[in-house]
Symmetry: C2
Subunit: 456 residues, 2 copies
């Protein structure tokens, strides 16, 4: 498939453009994403304008700004004017000068104003993902009038499944009518007769896209109006954009949980420098914190010299603490993100994690004791004359460290949220680092208590 496409485009962009037509527009995007930008632009230039607009309207088109800047200026501006305003604004956001100003200047005043209004909202807000192409009617209209209006504007609106009813005098939002109710309502009744009994659900242009996603999920919405503080509808966020926002957020959560800054772009599209920047920051911060383990070890150096056998289990014991912490953190991050658990529930969680940690630690501790006993008695390794005490030290330390790991891992997201940070910043490496230093101290303290007088 890749090869075929490569051959065809080298021969004739027009032929490839014709091949795109019978396919679904989403599949056209997949094909164009595989081409070089200049070839993709050449193909797009040959596609009928209506389809070209549909293609550019797909957020999945990877290099839309680059492709638009490679098109002839007049064609590019015609396509941008016909696109949905939110996607056009997205493209302008990434266009370089002088293309940006030139293309913006070629738009008609109304379209330019709509796009410029969208460009002022910060990324990741409702304002930045809303579209201004929605259906609104005055509350004095009848059902039949509204349906007639929808018939005329259907092609130019991103959705017609929600109709926004405005006060004719103030133009403030009065109600939202779903199209399905409108269809089954009486023709000559007032549009208000098809409304739901409760107040419409709205967001402000600065609402975080994560909260917008939560509203869609809670209320099973197909669109939500974005209103300013006097109640004027600035635009709407549709469910497809809300899904993209939700998935982008959960992506960021996974990346943060992996211990790095969130990367907003696909893996293959970030530059080397950007990749290093996004990863080196956290890696260095973790490295500097983890240096405390070296300090802790230096503190216990005389014990280490006396009982080198203790060092053998350091990686094993520390990693168990980190692993149990990482489990607890991943559980709690999502519960907090989905609001299954509130900040004030922290003590309930702590009361669950305490016995869980003790139990998990006891299981690992028993396995550890078993391993040392087996290796000693089967002659695989000699842990010295006090091997039973060494085994006991490892077992007891595991109970302590896994319990501490579970508690620390579960409380960290609460603490971060309480301090106003994103709980998803409580990454697995962050928790592991936190638990490593304390884990070493627990291990050597247990060792001192059990082995002092014999090995130490």
């Amino acid at each position: 498939m890749d090869i075929e496409v490569t051959t065809i485009e080298k021969l004739d962009p027009a032929a490839l453009a014709r091949e795109l037509l019978p396919q679904h527009v989403a599949d056209n995007v997949v094909t164009l994403n595989q081409l070089d930008n200049d070839v993709a632009a050449a193909v797009l230039a040959q596609v009928p304008a209506e389809r070209a607009v549909e293609i550019l309207d797909q957020p999945e088109l990877d290099f839309a700004p680059e492709i638009v800047s490679l098109l002839p200026r007049d064609q590019a501006s015609r396509l941008l004017a016909a696109m949905s305003a939110d996607r056009a604004a997205d493209i302008f956001r990434w266009l370089d000068e002088p293309e940006r100003s030139e293309l913006l200047g070629r738009l008609d005043a109304e379209t330019r104003a709509a796009i410029e209004r969208l460009l002022v909202y910060p990324p990741n807000t409702a304002g930045s993902i809303m579209t201004t192409e929605f259906v609104s009617v005055p509350s004095t209209w009848t059902v039949a009038q509204t349906l007639e209006h929808i018939r005329h504007v259907e092609r130019t609106r991103e959705t017609v499944y929600a109709i926004y009813v405005l006060d004719p005098a103030t133009r403030r939002l009065v109600q939202v009518v779903p199209l399905r109710r409108l269809i089954s309502a009486e023709s000559d009744a007032s549009i208000l007769s098809a409304c739901r009994p409760h107040a419409p659900i709205t967001v402000s242009p600065l609402t975080d896209r994560e909260d917008v996603g939560r509203l869609f999920r809670k209320y099973d919405l197909l669109a939500v109006p974005v209103v300013d503080n006097v109640g004027h509808v600035l635009g709407i966020v549709t469910v497809d954009d809300a899904i993209d926002a939700m998935l982008a957020e959960s992506n960021e959560d996974v990346q943060k949980f992996g211990g790095m800054e969130a990367i907003g772009e696909p893996y293959m599209q970030i530059s080397f420098g950007e990749m290093i920047r996004k990863r080196a920051g956290w890696l260095c911060a973790l490295f500097l914190s983890e240096m405390l383990t070296a300090s802790a070890m230096q503190h216990f150096e005389s014990e280490l010299e006396k009982a080198i056998v203790l060092t053998l289990f350091i990686p094993l014991i520390m990693s168990s603490g980190g692993n149990s912490g990482s489990q607890a953190t991943s559980l709690l991050i999502r519960s907090l993100a989905l609001q299954e658990i509130k900040l004030s529930d922290w003590w309930r969680v702590a009361l669950r994690e305490l016995p869980t940690g003790i139990m998990l630690g006891a299981i690992l501790g028993l396995i550890g004791i078993l391993r040392i006993t087996l290796w000693q008695n089967l002659g695989f390794f000699d842990y010295g004359p006090h091997w039973e005490l060494v085994a006991l030290t490892v077992g007891a330390a595991l109970v302590g460290i896994v319990t501490f790991g579970s508690l620390a891992g579960s409380m960290l997201p609460f603490i971060l949220q309480r301090l106003g940070f994103d709980p998803a910043s409580a990454s697995a490496p962050f928790v592991a680092t936190l638990v490593d230093v304390t884990g070493l101290v627990i291990y050597f303290s247990v060792a001192l208590a059990i082995l002092s007088g014999t090995l130490l």
Copy 2:
């Protein structure tokens, strides 16, 4: 708010039921979730049937099966019959006997058959999240006939925004018409005139819900028909259920990435035994693998005895390998899940991770060397007469280990996917364990190369 609710419900469920009415049904669910199950059932029994059905239809209602089993049998069966079939099936899936058979027996034959059909599909498939309440019309109908039909059935269908056009003879799916196109089409034209030019997008009842979510995202769907292998429509999956499925999947990804089995329920609702089971399995597997670190250390015991100073940096160096691996894994898991990257791209990724790992390792290595130099010269700690060589060992080992961590962390999701596992099983603790053992070997090999003849 919590306190107020508790007081009211103790006084009078009927009063609380009246308070629910002016609110949005999603907010009713929030209120009911805060009550004990028996109180919630008492309140629900007082709510008008139409609203009670809407409440039970919300997947966010936490204890729906428990609440239904606490209602009077005849009321429960009336509500279940009026609910959407997919949600009713969900409730039946979790009902205990004898309630389950009793309530199923009280349903009319048609509803019972619809629910039993849904119950046969395994969880997490399109069949298990589809609804059978959709609009279908024969392809011989006109636009006006179809609209008239929708007007009559609107109240009993989960969505009317997609109309499924069937062959009148075979009843196979011919096309899908969006309601918006129907509204703007000519009244007396054939329904087929409002169709899109390409074949309808469909799924099979056994399609994984993750793949269903991907289709919604790619094609910006509001609903997708579930068809059997001869093309009969069995049901449809609507976008609200697809969103729930997508978020459940990304939740599971985070939990797996945290190093545990995915938990399908909210944190507070899983039993202690279940919690231990879901967490102990992976924890024990990781513990057993991590035991290789003890074996590796035992192998290098004589070196350790000669140069105890090397042990001081073991946790620091190992954790850096794990952290860089965890970053790479989190990046790649999501890229694979969103299909930004294909399996065959593994070598491209390896070619990016190699220089990235070397660069990140070099940064950490420099910090490590700096730290040892500073501590030595400021008199904080004495790393011995060969401290420069120790610093060099730590620095060089970090380059090797971080590079190995980045490569291993990025390749692991590919290997798992190639072997037919979920790439999301490549958890942060899994990668850390993998890197720990190799990291120790790299560290001691570098030490042998640099320090042999002096310390070793």
